[in-house]
Symmetry: C2
Subunit: 194 residues, 2 copies
Amino acid sequence: MSTTIDVPESSNIKGKTILLGAQARPGGWKKGIAIVDFILRLGAVAAALGAAASMGMSDQTLPFFTQFFQFEASYDSFTTFQFFVISMAIVAGYLVLSLPFSIVAIIRPHATGPRLFLIILDTVFLTLATSSAASAASIVYLAHNGNQDTNWLAICNQFGDFCAQTSGAVVSSFVAVVVLLVLIVMSALALGKH
Amino acid sequence: MSTTIDVPESSNIKGKTILLGAQARPGGWKKGIAIVDFILRLGAVAAALGAAASMGMSDQTLPFFTQFFQFEASYDSFTTFQFFVISMAIVAGYLVLSLPFSIVAIIRPHATGPRLFLIILDTVFLTLATSSAASAASIVYLAHNGNQDTNWLAICNQFGDFCAQTSGAVVSSFVAVVVLLVLIVMSALALGKH
């Protein structure tokens, strides 16, 4: 009788230790990723907002004017820059709204629901952010260098401040793109390893 | 004695049926996703290759010329279009190289390794494809509409064929972008549900 009682006791203890070990190890690892995710998300909000604000306030009027019109350049001049301001504002708004889901992932590191939700929407908004950043970058390049073959002249000689401000906005938007990329890779790693 | 033999027998059978049921259900679902992934990947290869080829072969020389030069437009005229051709070729090359990993995901639907590898690289190449597609789109828009404020004239009146071909390449590249987006969402769903 004594031997039959001993066997289930020891197997019970073994089962418990294995279960605790399995919960403690990857839980801490996933919690760390979730905290880094939250911090990076805050940085991406700042980068996207900075890009939208910097582009939206780019406006330069030259000090000389003719009888009929003044020389003025603002983001309104380019459809691409308007798209840039709108889409960067949307991306910043999404990133702010995604912060609660990131907090849920910190509190419950094993739940796949919030991570799945975040990775899918992050991918969609990464595409939006990348497209606006790249299209604005190509216009900024044209403004700096012009194009010989089509006779499009560079405007940055006249509108230096305007060019500097829009270039800064493009750089800031690419920071947001890179952060979103890192967020997706981290979420994928956290989803895949379990 | 007869009762002690009966108990392990029945528990053995139960264990087997549960195990078989667990393997058959999600395995079929994940295998289906992996097969769709493979087919979509083939479509994305075609779209990316078509975009690169169409843009790379866009070249139009006008039938009239002056004493000193001919009027010619090709993808070489724009740095953005050169970037487009190179990056679309890289994306197409990656997609071809990713096909074996997609086949591994079909054969072993439960392995997370290939899916994790694919979702991370897909995200990186989605960003590359989106940036080249968007920057080319903004140049194509300028070629069609021009810009009043900077005195950049539309060139599509003269170079109609060139504009049609580059516009087609941009549309084809956005098809590749959308397919890559769908691939990432599908991989994330397959990784998350288990």
